[in-house]
Amino acid sequence: MPATDPTPRKGFFTDTTVCIGCKACEVACKQWNQLPDDGFVFTGMSYDNTCHVGASTWRHVAFVERPIRLQGQTAGIGDFSWLFMSDVCKHCERAACLEACPTGAIIRTEFDSVYVQPDVCNGCGYCVAACPFGVIDRRKDDGRAWKCTLCYDRLKGDMQPACAKVCPTASITFGDQDELRSKAEQRLAELHGKGVTDAYLYGMDAENTPGTGRLNAFFLLVDRPEVYNLPPDPVVPTKKAHAAWQALAVAGLGMAAVALTAAFSVREASR
């Protein structure tokens, strides 16, 4: 690719305020990627029987059903509100999974997405413990780690990801980051104008998620991140690891000192 014409950074803007919880994205993702189903569990958690994204589930619609009133939602009787959010891998600017992967299986693509190469992954599972969003998972019977690919195959063919394509309310919008950002800012202003002042953008810029940098898949939310099972202040573990390496260096030198003292003191003593 010529350096003068870089592929623009791609991503998702998910506006949770227009999501209707139809799960078309979940279905389209499974179908396009030919992912196996993962059993049929009845959870009793509102209409959410998927629960999380995982190795074979790369989109997950969260259903937050609560007896409280939210801005911009009118309830017939009493206080009641719905929140829906289609969750996905964030394709982080500082991707914990990528920085942890010891085999180089996880790469950054020309679209700025984070991609796991199934022919390289040896299933060490380090990415699973590293991801601050609990996205990537290892499938036991397959042995490798899997997650959303931002439909790498479709992007290569100039198509948009299956979930964005199928979303009937355009809650999931796919596009160039610059476009998505202006779209998101616009929508936010519109909502604030309508009195939904609690609305904010999660992960759109490094101010909001300084620990992971900008998230290529970012969200418009109207309640605290925890409500949607998102971490309020996620951080790529690598940013903190230098403290551990420093401690290890001191510990190692301490052990060297003890070993030398033990070895030499006994020699002296026996003379």
Partner: protein
């Protein structure tokens, strides 16, 4: 005759429901092998009642008590690896120090230490490979050199120390120049051993798991010290001459003291956020942790008795080994439990111990962006608490 979809058990049972006569399996997830469909359900145990402390309240919301993080997928071989590789590292380091004395009488001790180091490396390698999802691809670990990944660094250190210790062990009693080559390899092994002995602490510190991430300033000390205890315990059981015994004992007493001090430091680090420290106090991980500490105390006390009391030496060695194993198992298990508790992650980040600890924290923590302005969270309307 075309086979009908419902006659093809494989197509029916892999959970894809794609009729191979009509569809081609070329999707990004088509290579995913399926033996048991339920295997991939991303929230095992979801229908069980979540632990009381995981349940949401208005002030501390969660998503139906569900965890935020994925649990580490590692199996029991990993904590045993923490023990084994520590043994290999400590043996490599002590072998280097004893070689440096240049004392011929201690030469058999050097040789034994080198063999301990290289055999523990071999066992360690086996334990690691056993944990891989694709064991046949273990060599992919040496495909890249990635300083951001302690696992990558560990794989390289393991490769280096096993080679160096191996050469050193084989050439321990070689004549002339060859012996010097062996000693050089031994010193190289000793240098690698210094970070290698406790690196598995950094490995777990460098994760999103709250109790592991929070103890990054103390756990490397604990793992290094506990490895010293492990080695001295092994030597106390097997060492030959009186001088060997004495070296092993001094090394071990220092290791045990450091182990006790640093386990206090680990607890202190974790206790800064109560939910984070919970697995070190409760449940199976808590029991293992407390047992580890108690056995380390007992082992230290016994090792301070005069060297000629043989039963005390043996008991101290057995307790020291059990303490090291128990502590490393406890840390491993605590991480698993911690990853399942959403409050551990949320409380930690709300308390300013997420990204805020290394730079500035998220604007989510204190404020929301309203009409381009940042306003404090408690002034925003609605159910935000």
């Amino acid at each position: 005759m075309t086979r009908r979809y419902r006659d093809d058990p494989a197509a029916m049972q892999d959970g894809r429901n794609v009729n191979p006569g009509l569809g081609v399996l070329l999707g990004e997830g088509a290579q995913q092998q399926v033996k048991r469909v339920e295997e991939a359900f991303p929230a095992p145990g979801v229908t069980e009642v979540p632990p009381v402390h995981a349940v949401a309240t208005a002030a501390r919301p969660t998503y139906y008590g569900q965890p935020v993080l994925k649990a580490p997928v590692w199996i029991w071989t990993v904590p045993v690896y923490f023990y084994m590789e520590g043994l290999a590292g400590a043996a490599g380091a002590l072998a280097g120090a004893v070689t440096l004395t240049g004392d011929e009488v201690l030469r058999p001790f050097v040789r034994r230490l080198r063999w301990v180091s290289v055999s523990c490396c071999a066992v360690s390698g086996g334990l690691l490979i056993a944990d891989l999802g694709r064991p046949s691809r273990f060599l992919n670990m040496l495909r890249v050199f990635r300083p951001t990944s302690p696992m990558s660094m560990g794989a390289w250190m393991l490769a280096a120390i096993s080679s160096f210790s191996g050469i050193a062990a084989l050439l321990s009693d070689a004549p002339g120049a060859l012996r010097r080559v062996g000693d050089a390899a031994g010193y190289a092994a000793a240098v690698v051993a210094l970070p290698f002995t406790g690196y598995t602490a950094v490995l777990v510190n460098n994760t999103a798991v709250p109790v592991w991430q929070s103890t990054r300033r103390s756990l490397p000390f604990l793992f290094t010290a506990s490895s010293m205890t492990s080695l001295s315990s092994l030597l106390q059981l097997t060492a030959h001459g009186a001088r060997e015994q004495q070296i092993a004992r001094r090394f071990g007493v220092a290791g045990r003291i450091a182990e006790l001090v640093s386990s206090e430091a680990v607890e202190r680090d974790a206790r800064k956020v109560p939910e984070v420290a919970r697995p070190l106090a409760e449940g199976r991980s808590g029991a293992l942790w407390k047992a580890g500490k108690a056995m380390a105390v007992a082992s230290l006390a016994l090792s301070l008795l005069p060297a000629r009391v043989k039963w005390a030496r043996t008991a101290s060695a057995v307790l020291g080994t059990a303490a090291a194993l128990s502590t490393k198992l406890a840390v491993f298990q605590a991480g698993r439990v911690s990853s399942r508790n959403p409050h551990a992650t949320f409380d930690m980040q709300r308390a300013g111990r997420g990204a805020a600890e290394v730079g500035h924290g998220s604007s989510n923590l204190v404020q929301l962006k309203v009409e381009g302005r940042l306003i404090p969270l408690d002034q925003a309307q609605g159910p935000t608490v």
